[in-house]
């Protein structure tokens, strides 16, 4: 016998089937988005044409999509890694901001430092910033049982205020300005540009602004895949996420795993912030926080919490972001419709039974993410 006991579902088949749900979710969301636009008097065809050309229309558009994809890969991974351990990291936004601020602080300091060193140091600062913001909810969960959902959300607000203060231009009532504020910006609250030596190298045509962060993102994707699926640490993370009690029974250090996982999640989101600063914005202003933290949740779920799936999902969301402005310009449809579409995508990927019902698929195909098992108590 060709060893029936070793039978394993075919890899290609599994891969294709795993694409089914996200693709269906996206198509349905786009369709509903179109109906909504039509209902509110917008022309969905013009809008989607603008969206397409803004995202893929030419090399520059494509580069924009890739650039927008990078932070989403990181925040998506951040949320997904936490999911694997049964944790819900809504705090990617705050961790992103802390990474941004830390990288900015290093980026505007140390004139004369050699570029490779300066870039590395700034990235490291971003890592540390995110790490701290990820460890707080992890430690609080382990030691006090505080649910990470509430703590990370609160830390998002705290991070936004803290980051805002660092570049605060100072008040009319004589309040002192923040430490990272650029005095030459006068009343505007923003940091000075980071030094040339701290900027991520660009490749291809500099006008495309494709930075080395793209390569870093892909490397991190492979690393996280290896960590989760090929190491004992990953085995522990997944076991904790699937069955907390069994993990404890098996002698795993559950508390340590929770803290470690939140640390990794924080690092990933912090890196996203650092890379955005060093590769794209070259400075920090409070409005650079954006949506990437929250979008990470959708990207993680759309990518079925698998690192390679997340790359595809981030690419798609990057395209939506990249094309939104062109869409609004060409069709006059407010770009906020993109957010509606993204929420719909999330609704459909998170409710597999919904799609299954629509397409009459087999029951066992999808892993349902469960994270509400420790709500309101029950520490790690």
């Amino acid at each position: 016998m060709a060893n029936a006991i070793d039978r394993r579902p075919g890899r290609l088949g599994r891969f294709l089937r795993s694409l089914l749900l996200p693709v269906a979710a996206i198509l349905i969301a786009l369709a509903i988005g179109a109906v909504a636009m039509w209902a509110f008097g917008d022309d969905p065809l013009v809008a989607y044409r603008g969206l397409w050309s803004g995202a893929f229309g030419d090399a520059r558009a494509l580069a924009r999509t890739v650039r927008k994809m990078v932070p989403l890969i990181f925040t998506g991974l951040s949320v997904a890694v936490a999911f694997k351990a049964g944790l819900f990291n809504i705090g990617a936004a705050g961790q992103f901001l802390m990474g941004t601020v830390a990288a900015t602080a290093v980026g505007i300091s140390f004139p004369g430092m050699p570029a490779p060193l300066h870039v590395s140091l700034a990235l490291l600062a971003g890592v540390v910033g995110g790490l701290v913001w990820g460890l707080i909810p992890g430690l609080l969960k382990v030691y006090t049982g505080a649910h990470e959902v509430i703590v990370t959300i609160m830390l998002n607000y705290v991070a936004a205020l803290l980051a805002g203060w660092t570049v605060y231009a100072g008040g009319t009532e004589g309040q002192s300005p923040g430490p990272l504020w650029d005095p030459t910006a006068r009343a505007v609250s923003e940091s000075p540009d980071i030094l040339e030596s701290a900027r991520l190298p660009l490749f291809f045509d500099p006008a495309y602004r494709l930075h080395a962060g793209v390569l870093l993102a892909l490397a991190v994707v492979v690393f996280i895949w290896w960590l989760i699926y090929r190491t004992t640490i990953g085995f522990e993370i997944r076991t904790v996420g699937l069955n907390l009690k069994a993990a404890r029974y098996a002698g795993m250090r559950v508390a340590w795993t929770v803290v470690f996982t939140m640390g990794i999640a924080g690092i990933l989101a912090g890196l996203a912030g650092a890379i955005e600063t060093l590769g794209v914005n070259w400075k920090f202003a409070p409005e650079f926080g954006g949506q990437v933290g929250f979008d990470g949740i959708t990207v993680a779920l759309l990518g079925q919490t698998h690192p390679f799936g997340i790359v595809l999902a981030a690419f798609l969301f990057g395209a939506l972001d990249a094309g939104a402005a062109r869409m609004q310009f060409e069709s006059g449809v407010a770009q906020d419709i993109i957010q509606v579409i993204q929420a719909l995508v999330l609704a459909f990927v998170a409710a597999p039974t919904l799609i299954r019902l629509l397409f009459r698929m087999e029951a066992e195909e999808f892993e349902v993410t469960t994270i509400s098992q420790t709500w309101g108590g029950g520490s790690g």
Partner: protein
């Protein structure tokens, strides 16, 4: 045979679940004022049948008649309206609510817009005095002992004016003495004209109390028996379909040095209440120490402390001479060379979403050859899985099948395979055969005895007195967080163990009328 009108008739009921026929053309009648014993093994289809009668499941085929009229029930509400009441095996009581609230839930007494708790309390008192079911109506259910909670369940049914009472395995959580009390209540109910279906798999009990016995096997009625003439052996044969081995075959033990030593162990439960109050015991290499007792007397916490899952608040734990009082589960597994078959295999013993192969290395995944440094060695894990699946006869389509999709017996074999395949000196088995088929039970019992014969020290915790008596060389009885006594197996009679399980101290046994 009977000229009376049956109050309940079950006619050719068939219930099919996906892949299983749980009930096949089941037929039975119930008359007022009688206790019908419904006997059958775990998985024989007793509970399914009762859930159909109680309106929780709808039959695939067949008919139910109540007081001569065919009925269709869509929910328990319909059953309750027809005068059917059920005392579930797992009590259906809300722990944080009072007795009054639990009793009236679903059939509330209302005055204006508000609940009329006084009226319900009065009704409870009435019922309590009529059937001698003492209970404080305003007590919170979670504060009540198990026996009293069961009374609340019975009151709940009587409050709804049930004439037909279904008692689903009511004795499984009670001490022998509490069981006697329950039987008195059942007798009183019978004399007042109530019809009772008494579901059990315990032969002695059904012979003692029932007026008539119906035996169910694999979803079918395989026979009726008269308690006056039937014997335990004949009933057992009917129930299982072949002669059962009531005794596990094993030779005499040859105990070696002490492996597990527990001294004055103290611990608290999840609510922070004391659960272990100074437990001391020793288990030697090559012997099986059985811990008997009614569920909830600290057995769970004892096993958790010994396996490192729960911190001890006092006392000492030594394994093979090493102090392990503060050791982690991993240290106890590694340095203590011990293994643990947990009480609740779904919650602790396995990860249902993982493939069989991963579950077989759940606590050894980090050791060579399964891991080299940080990296998992998939091929070594698969190799290991292939070997164990064959050796322990785990019936699975593939080693990559999700463990959660296996049958209960095979899941337990999976756990046993993982735990027994390591070199061990101490085996801690809690409820190792709960809820699995007879074939697997036999297999697991044999494996446990085999480990003993190889010189492993075995601590067996079970709520099934039969299992304890069949396997143990010595028997310790636990009551309210303490070991009341430890008896050699040959001296441990059912009566002595029963008194101990009820908390009667050994020196009081003669006073209780038992000669040693």
């Amino acid at each position: 045979m009977d000229t009376r009108e049956p109050i309940l008739e079950v006619r050719d009921i068939t219930k099919v679940f996906p892949g299983v026929v749980a009930n096949n053309r089941v037929h039975l009648e119930l008359y007022p004022g009688e206790i019908l014993g419904l006997l059958g093994e775990n998985g024989a289809g007793k509970s399914t049948l009762m859930n159909i009668i109680y309106g929780l499941y709808r039959p695939t085929e067949g008919e139910i008649r109540v007081r001569g009229r065919p009925v269709t029930m869509h929910s328990p509400k319909d059953a309750i309206a027809l005068g059917i009441g059920m005392v579930h095996q797992h009590f259906q009581l809300v722990p944080v609510m009072s007795v009054v609230d639990n009793v009236m839930l679903g059939s509330e007494s209302i005055r204006g817009p508000f609940l009329d708790r006084e009226a319900v309390a009065r009704r409870i008192q009435e019922i309590a005095s009529r059937y001698s079911l003492e209970v404080d109506p305003y007590a919170i259910v979670e504060d009540l002992p198990v026996g009293v909670r069961q009374r609340v369940e019975i009151i709940k049914a009587l409050y709804r004016e049930a004439d037909i009472l279904i008692l689903d395995e009511p004795t499984s959580v009670l001490t022998p003495q509490e069981i006697q009390g329950l039987f008195q209540i059942m007798d009183l109910l019978r004399r007042q004209g109530k019809a009772i279906i008494f579901i059990t798999h315990k032969l002695k009990e059904v012979l003692h109390i029932a007026d008539r016995i119906v035996v169910l096997r694999r979803g079918e009625v395989v026979g009726e028996a008269d308690p006056q003439t039937a014997s335990q052996a004949s009933l057992a044969a009917m129930m299982v379909g072949r002669e059962v081995m009531l005794v596990v075959e094993k030779g005499p033990a040859s105990p070696g040095p002490v492996v597990l030593e527990v001294e004055g162990l103290e611990a608290v439960n999840d609510l922070g209440e004391p659960a272990l109050r100074g437990v001391s015991l020793q288990v030697r290499a090559g012997e099986i120490l059985g811990v008997a007792g009614v569920q909830g007397n600290g057995q769970t916490e004892l096993v958790e402390v010994i396996t490192g899952l729960r911190p001890a608040t006092g006392g000492r734990l030594r394994i093979a001479g090493q102090d392990m009082t503060r050791a982690s589960p991993r240290q106890i597994t590694d340095r203590g060379q011990s293994c643990h078959v947990p009480e609740d295999r779904h919650a602790y013993g396995m990860v249902g979403a993982y493939p069989v192969a991963y579950n077989l290395v759940l606590n050894t995944y980090y050791r060579p050859p399964f891991a080299q440094g940080l990296t998992i060695q998939e091929e070594a894990i698969a190799e290991h899985a292939r070997r164990l699946v064959a050796e322990y006869d785990v019936r699975t389509p593939s080693i990559y099948t999700r463990a959660g999709s296996l049958s209960g017996g095979n899941q337990q074999k999976l756990v046993v395979a993982r735990e027994f395949s390591r070199p061990i000196q101490l085996l801690i088995a809690a409820q190792p055969t709960r809820g699995i088929d007879v074939g697997s039970i036999e297999f697991i019992h044999q494996q446990i005895v085999a480990k003993r014969d190889q010189g492993v020290a075995v601590l067996l915790v079970s709520y099934e007195l039969d299992e304890i008596m069949a396997l143990s060389d010595r028997i310790a009885v636990m009551y309210q967080g303490q070991i009341l006594d430890v008896l050699p197996a040959e001296e441990a009679t059912r009566e002595r163990l029963g008194l101990l399980m009820a908390g009667v101290h050994p020196q009081e046994h003669t006073a209780a009328g038992l000669s040693t």
